[in-house]
Each structure stands twice: as structure tokens, then as C-alpha cells.
Amino acid sequence: MGIKVTRKWLDSIVDTQLSNAEIGRVLTQAGLELDELHSLDPGCDGVVVGYVHKAIKHPNADKLSVCEVEVGGASRLNIVCGCKTVKAGIYVAVATVGTLLPNGLKIKKSKLRGEVSEGMLCSASEIGLNSSSAGIMHLAENSKLGEDIAKHLHLDDTLFDFDVTPNRGDCLSLHGVARELVAFSDSRLKPELKTESYQNKDISCAVKVSAPEDVLVYSCAIVKNIDLSAKVDNFIVEYLDKIGVGSVNNVVDIANYLMYEQGQPFHVFDADKVAGDIDVRFANDGEEVTVITGEKLSLDKDALVIADSEKIIAIAGLMGSADSCVDDSTKNILVESAHFSETVIAKSCRRYKLNSDSAYRFERGVDSKRTVLLRDRLVELIIANLGGDYSGGLVIDKKDSTDSKVLLGLAYIKKVLGMDVSKDNVVNCLEKVGAKFSFNDDVFEICSPSWRSDLKLPIDYVEEVLRFSGYDNIPKIELNCSIKPLSKVRHAENNVNKLKNFLVANGLHEIISYSFISEDDFLNFATKKDKLVLLNPISKNMSYMRSTLVSGLLNAVSYNFKRQKSNIKLFEVGQVFGASGASSTKISACIQGKLGTEDWQNKSRNVSFYDLKGLLQSMLAILGIDLDFVPTSLQGFHPGIAANIMTNGNNIGYIGSIHPQLLKQKDLVSPVFIFELDLTELAAAKIINFKPYSKFPVVKRDLSILVDSSTEFSGITAAVADLKLIALRKIDLTDIYTDDNMEDGQKSVTISFLFQDIDKTLKDEVVNIYMDKIIAALQKINVSVRS
């Protein structure tokens, strides 16, 4: 929300030479950001005010009339019109020959069923106004003939829409915008209208304020015998229409108009629906009220209300009750103009999820010194428009609001801004703000203006000084290089970057997916007891906080696969969340499809679990981390292809193949291999410790063995490792196969052993001894050696 004003409306209270664009620029630079500026002119040059002298039935068409229309010139126009309401003696909008209407229709001199037509009588929508009426416009009597229709309807106007920051409630009115414009330009406010002052006079009921802490001023007045059907001044209707405020009824429209003009919210009750005495009090717990929107609310004791002897008639400053509002039969009204505390209104808005233009202003601060003056102006406007008599009113004013003083030193301004500001500049600023002040020993003692509830602390005035000096005029200084560096070494971040660099270099694309996912996606990899759910999700599909990055990666694979992408390799780094709200940072990667690029030189093969395992091992080798893999079962993963990733006995993540059923659910046809690792552990990886390495020749020996096909490779390597052969540098798997010559359930495994001594060349005889030991150890675990 913000504030909308029009140029003509502004001109009614301010004298300014500025163009529309200049007004927008000046106020934007003052902090009242112009959101939109647009002309209200419907763009129908050539449409003018006309007077119908004669309207006779068309000789050849029942539904048409032939009219004689005067448009200010000497000659009268002959115009054929199809509207039923046309008759002699009315004022109309005439599109003259040559006019191009906003709907694209070009008016030409023509013959309609044999009668000459030199123009067209227009409906409101035909000249570009927002109207549902299809009939021709009937203009006011004695309108000026030949006058441009936009000018006639006061549409030669421009609408400004300003954003107002929450601290500037004083700008939420025409008056507030004008005051700001005057402070920042050579413009002047026109003298304010003189308002009749209505003296306190007994009213039929007693009024008391039982919550004085939150009610600074409470004033009301009763006006009797108003005529709700009377016509309201054009400017009220026009300006409300221009700023987009819908009409309710005459009384409410007048009260709304004055609120938008002056910033003071009002409420108007039907006085005959108020029973007994009025009390401004807090609600009782569970007390009910049906507000004008029709919503029935059960209030609690934090809600400030206006109540009569029987019921609540309004939630203070926010909304009236349905059974006390003005309706078509209302004769007598009770007008309220009050000042409620910002917090009490805010509480009601939040608690009951209600809002109104009135509460919007109270929350942001209303001028407490004009409450009564504006009640009087409202009464005056109502009587002027709708008749009726002032029959009584009263004011309850706390008056104990001693204005607090703010002390602002020139040295403080300099400390915060980093530049000297002269006393004269501060004086100029304070005068323009409208503050009262004195100056002693380089310190200003300031009394803030009643409409600026945001000016409470010295720092608030530093901002005012800067605003009036002009944010544009802040001098540019060289960046001070004497500041000593405070940044810390970023080992942990560098480690994460190394991993990311590795994955990118190996063909994986980094993704970022939403932290909130659907319930289904969540339950694919976790159980309900782990859930952390948003109370107010943007949609049901984005309500569960992810417990793993895997679901996002899988969805991204699926998204791309459905768009004919293949060989999808992705990774993500991000936070995941536990039921307690604890978060941890993970890195997760997945591969699918072919291994490398398929091209004219290479035939590519499908990726396997071992490709991802190897990628993971190489990636962590960069950080000097060795991994162990322990088979496990994981929700959402293939029961036979899943493992925990261990280092030094700690579980740091898992790796596996997505469960085939889940693949199907995501419309995927080939396996997706995924790992996820906890980055908190990895980022803290120690600095690599250098180990001396051998410069003597390497001896390589191959060994083919026959094993049971269920034998795990790790069992073989473990048996060899148990020998603790210092010269055995490395064990490589070179081949693994089965063929028809083998017994069922057996496989052949070829392993190569690399030997290297740290300080001498190994002799063949020594290596032979090692190999004999290895063979003996393997035979112990039922491995038969083939060669």
C-alpha cells in the first residue's frame, strides 16, 4: 500500500511551479518513492460537450433517433443516435467528425439509413472511462458547450502513486504529501480552510474511556436528520474515483474522502443502533462481534473495542460491527475521531488477520493534535452535503502527553555521517521538518512535530539532516585503506570449493533446488517422525523441509529426462533440516545414462555404481580422506546397492542406486546413482601430512584366483592386508569374470600386486617369498589360485 494523489487535488492545497515529473523526482529523492505516474486523460480528443435541441424518431428505423446537437459553434450538427435515453434538452458527450475513440473507432460523416450523421453521442465506456453503463452519458445541466470532455470531467489530471515506508505514517494523506513537497521545494501550502468549531454539547449517551493507556484522544459527535440520498459534492466523488476508492454510501464516502485528504481515520455509526452508553475498553475473553465484512470474531482481552451498553460496536481503529453501521435508512449518525496507540491497533490486525485503511494509518502513526479539528471538519462536510444538525459531541483528551525532547549534537552528526554539517544546515533542516528547537553548546534540544511520530532518537534527526542535505550531495571520499584486514582464512570453504571444482571438471552440473518439497518426496527418503513442516507453505507441494538433497536431485534428473536430456550428471550443495529445526550442510551428486560423451572416437558405456564410487573416492582423495564402504539398506534405494560411507570409523554419508520403483514413479528408465556426504565433517578435513616416498623400482606380480561368487573383494584385500607386508604398495583389481569352464557359483578374479621398498631395490627372491605368503593367506580363506 502507499498513497495516491492527483495533480489537481494537490494543486487544491499547494502552490507549486513544478512539473509532474519534477514532483515525482523531488519526492523520490526525499524518500517518498514514486511508484507510478500516469495520466487520467482517457485520450479522446474531439469529444466535446453538446446540447440536444431536437430528437426525433428516424423515419426509416424504429430504434434510431435523429438529433440536432449544438457543440458551441454557430451551426448545429445532425447526429443519428441509437440510445433509448436520448431526448431534447439534455447535455451529452459528442464525438465530432475526425475523432479517434480509445476503442479505435474513427468518427466519419456518414449516412445511416438515409439520414446524415455528423458525429456520435458517446457512452462513458466509449470515451475510455471505466463504466458498465451502455447508454449515452448525461452531463450536468448548463455545462459549457464545446468544452473538451476530459477537461469537462476533470480528467485532464495525473495520478501519482507513492510508496510510503512504514515509519512515515504522516505521508499517508494528500496533506502529508503536500507537506513533504513544500519541505523539499519552493512550493507553498495554501491557507487551510477555516473549520467551524463544534463545542462540547451534551449527547444522549455517556462516553467513557476505560483504556486510557491506548487512547490518547477520543472525540465524537452526533449529527441528526441527515439526508442520505442528497447529492455529494463532485470533487469528493471524483477524487475517490480517481484514487480507486469504491463508493459505499454518502456518509462513508465523505469520511473516507477526508481521511485520504487529511490522514485522520474516522468511524461513523448509525446513532439509532447504538444502545445506551459508550465505553472504549478491552474486550472480554470470548466476547463476539460480527464485523462489516460479515466475519464473526471471538475476541480476547487484548482487543480494544468500542462498546455500547449491550454489545461491541467496533474493534477500535480497525473495523465497525455489522449491526451498528450506516445503512440506507440511517437518519442520525455518531461520528468518531480518535487517536489509538500504534501497538493496540497492530495487535488486533495481527490477531484477527484483518486490515483496513484506517488501521493501516493508526499503525503507522496519526497526528494526535488534529483529531478534534478533523472531527469538526467531517461534521461540517457532512452537514454541508447531507444536511442535518449537530446535536452534541464531546472530547476526551489525555493531555498528559508531555512532549519529549531529543538532544542532537553536531559532533554526533559528524561521527555517524563522517562529514561536517554546519549549524545553519541543521537549523534549516529542523525548520523544514517543522520541529521546535533551541541550540546551546553545539547541541540542539528538539521537540518533534506532532505528526512525526518516527522522530524519537538523535539518530532519527541525523537521517533528517542527511535527507535535507540531499542523499545526492553526499561527497565521495576515497576508500580508506588504513583499516586492518579482519577476514579469516577460509580453509573450510576452500575445501568445499575443491570438491565442487572436481565435480565440475568431471562433467557434473551444479543445481540449486528448493529447500521445501512435497510430502510424497519427503516420505520417499524419510519417515514422518523426521518431518519439519511449514505452517504457512506457499503450496502443498512446498511444505516439507528437505531432509536430504537426494529428492531435489532426483526431481531435477526427472525434469531433464522428460525434456529429452540424457546422461544427466548433477550435484548440489545446501542445507538439509531435521525435525528439531537443526540444519546441516551436505554435498550430493548423481549420475545417470552413459559414462562419457559418445562420439566418433569412442563408444560409451552405461554408468555403473563403481563409476560414482570411484568419482567419490577420487574427490575425497583431494582432501586426503580415505573411505570405507559398508553395505546397508537405505529407504528409497535399491536393497542390494546401497552403502554407508565411512572414514576413520565415522559415518559421513551414503551412496547407492535409487530404488527401481521410485525410478518408475519419476518416469525414469535407467538407474540413477547418488551419494550424499556431510560437508560439516569434510570441510574441517585436516591439512594433508606429507609421507616420504620410495625412489626404487616397482615390481608387479599378477595373480588369478577362483573364488565363490559371493566372496567380497574386501575380504580378499583384508586377508592380504593382515600380512602387513611393508613393501606391498598397492593392490589393484585388473579383471573379474565367469565362464562356462568354471563350476557354478564361482568367479575368476585377477589381482595385481605392486611391491616397492623404501630404501632398496627388491630382489625377485624376496618378492617370491611375499607372493608365497599371500597365496598361503588366500588359501586359508578358501581361495584357489589359478596361476
Binding site: 523520490t28 529523492q29 518513492e33 512504514p166 500504534e342 495481527r350 499503525e363 561521527k415 555517524v416 555521517l417 563522517g418 562529514m419 532518537l457 539518530i459 532519527d460 541525523v462 537521517e463 542527511l466 535527507r467 542523499y471 553526499i474 561527497p475 571520499i477 576508500l479 583499516i483 579482519l486 577476514s487 577460509r490 570449493n497 565440475v504 568431471n506 562433467g507 552440473h509 551444479e510 540449486i512 528448493y514 521445501f516 519439519l532 513442516v533 511449514l534 505452517l535 504457512n536 506457499i538 512446498m542 525434469y559 531433464n560 536430456k565 544427466i568 550428471k569 542445507q575 533440516f577 529445526g581 537443526a582 540444519s583 562419457g596 560423451t597 562420439d599 566418433w600 572416437q601 569412442n602
Partner: protein, 335 residues
């Protein structure tokens, strides 16, 4: 020297000149080998003459041997030279046949890409590290105090309307900005401070041009002499560094509960007429310092915040914020 010897030598010389002639004429390594065998082989013509040394008188033996060795070496030298030449020629012929069609497509190893938001985050960290700022990410789940109250946004403050907050419970929420991480740092460390906090933030905004999740960077400087002018100088330098262009900046008054004075920062690219609103900034509000126990009589501070996704859009010319989180490979591949 007797006549027989003289004759033998002159025979040998004749053979030499014939051999050298045919070496020069030869066109293949095979020919060359044949010439070697004919002349210097076990029963070659020069070898045969040499064998006659046994029949020669002792006073002529030396001279004969010397002459014949010279001849033999000459032939050998000629053979070697020619051999190198022919070998080189042979190699060149082979290489000539190996010429590739270098216009055939290269075989590209698959390469991955960094997410554009990640790239911008790295840039930002580096630029601010060069100004001496440390960086933190912080947790994306926060409590009310760190996200709002400590930042001078009391429970009833109208500015809460500007933060459409996702809640888990009354006191647990998804952070709406990265400032809570700064509150944690100010609670844990003493000034002087110079830090950025950056990462994901969340607002339940359903507008199609907004994403409920986006990325933010906020910077904070607290010291005994942090001031508005220094902040402007820093931000001016920052935008020039980030865009690697002579970007103009403009300050406009604005309002944030946690800073006073506050400003919006607009930037203008060289050659453009449009000011783009990109950043909010201001001097840390004394109430914020009060909440974290920093003496606002001694210390002043400034803070600034910027949307990382927006910076990425401006830097790379991306027009739709939502494409950042669709993760379409055709989008990702471009970075």
C-alpha cells in the same frame, strides 16, 4: 714399395671411387646394405684385397695397411652419411602419410558447470575478502529474536508486513534475510567487525516475479569510526569491482527498522539511462546495538543488503528469476 703393392692400392682406389659413386646413386637402405656387403663384407672386394696383406713384404706392409684403411673408412663414412640421409627421408615419407584431417571434430571430455548463483557468491566472497571481510552462511532456520526483534522489528512493527514469513511455530521460522547471522556474530564477537553473511532466504511471496526462496548478501561493519561516507565509498568501489564496469551509484532515502539513516542504492551501467534499484543500506540503528550489547556511544556501524539472484540476473542478462531453480540443463550449461 713394389709394383704388386702399388697395383693393389690402385685397384682398391678404383673400387673406392666406384663404391662411393654407387653409394651416392643408391635410393634405399637395401641398396646401401648391398653396396656395403659387396665392398666391405666378409668376402667383399676391399676385404679381399686387405686379406692379401699376408703376402706383402714387411717393409710395404705398413704403407699398404694405412692406404687400405683410409679407403675402407672413406667408404664407411660415405655409407653412414647416406644411411642417415635415407633414414631421414624414410621417416619423412612415413610422417607425410600420417597427416590428419585436423578439421574433424575434437573429442570433448564432458565438463560440468557451476550454478550462476554459486558463481556470483564466489565473486562476492572474493571481493569482500579483499576488503578484509570475513564471511558466514548461518542457519536458514531462525528464531523470532534473531530474525526480527534484535533487528529492531518488534512483534507489532508494521515492517513485519514487508517480510512475508514462513513459520514452523510461533518462534521458529525460515529466515527472511541473512541479517540474523550478523546478530549471532555481534553476540559472539567484539568490535571491530567486518563481515558478510550470505545464503538462502525465504519469503512467502506468491507473485510470479518473486521466488519463495532466493539468495541474499548482507554486509556489516562495526568500528569506532564507521560512517556513512565510508559506506558510500565502499559500495561505490564494490559495484565497480563486481560488474567490472564504471557503474554509477545513487543513494535515495529509505527505511529499514535496523538502520538509520537508511538508503536505497540505485546503480546505472555505463551508457544506460536507467537507474536500477539493487541494494538497501544504512547506519546500524542504536536499538540493534542495544540488543547485542554493543556500546553505541563508542561504536558506529553500517550495513547493506543485496539480492544475489538479482546481481546474477544483471551480470549475466538472465530475465526470469524462476529459471534459477528449475535446474534445466540447457540453462545450467551456459555458465
Amino acid at each position: 714399395m713394389d709394383n704388386t703393392v702399388v697395383k693393389l692400392i690402385s685397384n682398391a682406389k678404383e673400387i673406392e671411387s666406384l663404391a662411393i659413386f654407387s653409394i651416392e646413386k643408391s635410393t634405399s637402405l637395401d641398396d646401401l646394405e648391398q653396396i656395403r656387403v659387396i665392398n666391405l663384407g666378409k668376402s667383399g672386394s676391399i676385404t679381399t684385397i686387405l686379406k692379401k696383406i699376408a703376402t706383402i713384404s714387411s717393409e710395404s706392409k705398413n704403407a699398404f695397411g694405412k692406404e687400405l684403411n683410409i679407403i675402407k673408412n672413406n667408404i664407411k663414412a660415405a655409407l653412414d652419411t647416406k644411411k642417415i640421409m635415407l633414414e631421414q627421408q624414410h621417416e619423412q615419407n612415413i610422417l607425410a602419410k600420417q597427416t590428419l584431417d585436423i578439421t574433424l571434430p575434437g573429442v570433448n571430455p564432458a565438463h560440468g558447470t557451476y550454478h550462476p548463483v554459486s558463481m556470483v557468491i564466489e565473486d562476492l566472497k572474493q571481493i569482500f575478502a579483499s576488503y578484509g571481510f570475513s564471511s558466514v552462511t548461518g542457519s536458514e532456520i531462525e528464531d523470532d529474536f534473531h530474525n526480527f526483534t534484535a533487528l529492531n522489528i518488534s512483534p507489532l512493527h508494521p515492517a513485519r508486513d514487508m517480510h512475508d514469513t514462513f513459520y514452523f511455530s510461533a518462534d521458529r521460522l525460515l529466515r527472511t534475510h541473512t541479517s540474523p547471522a550478523q546478530i549471532h556474530t555481534m553476540q559472539a564477537e567484539h568490535p571491530p567487525l567486518r563481515m558478510i553473511s550470505l545464503g538462502k532466504v525465504y519469503r512467502c511471496d506468491s507473485d510470479p516475479t518473486h521466488s519463495p526462496m532466493f539468495h541474499q548478501l548482507e554486509g556489516l561493519v562495526v568500528s569506532e569510526n564507521a560512517n556513512f561516507l565510508e559506506m558510500k565509498a565502499l559500495l561505490d568501489d564494490f559495484f565497480k569491482s563486481f560488474f567490472e564496469k564504471d557503474v554509477a551509484i545513487r543513494f535515495r532515502p529509505s527505511y529499514f527498522p535496523f538502520t538509520e539513516p537508511s538508503a536505497e542504492v540505485d546503480i546505472k551501467m555505463p551508457g544506460s539511462d536507467n537507474w536500477l534499484e539493487v541494494m538497501g543500506c544504512g547506519m546500524v540503528h542504536p536499538n540493534v546495538f542495544k540488543h547485542v550489547g554493543i556500546d553505541s556511544a563508542k561504536y558506529t556501524g553500517y550495513a547493506f543488503g543485496v539480492g544475489i539472484d538479482r546481481l546474477a540476473m544483471l551480470k549475466y542478462g538472465i530475465d526470469d528469476l524462476r529459471s534459477f531453480f528449475e535446474n534445466d540443463i540447457d540453462f545450467l550449461k551456459q555458465f
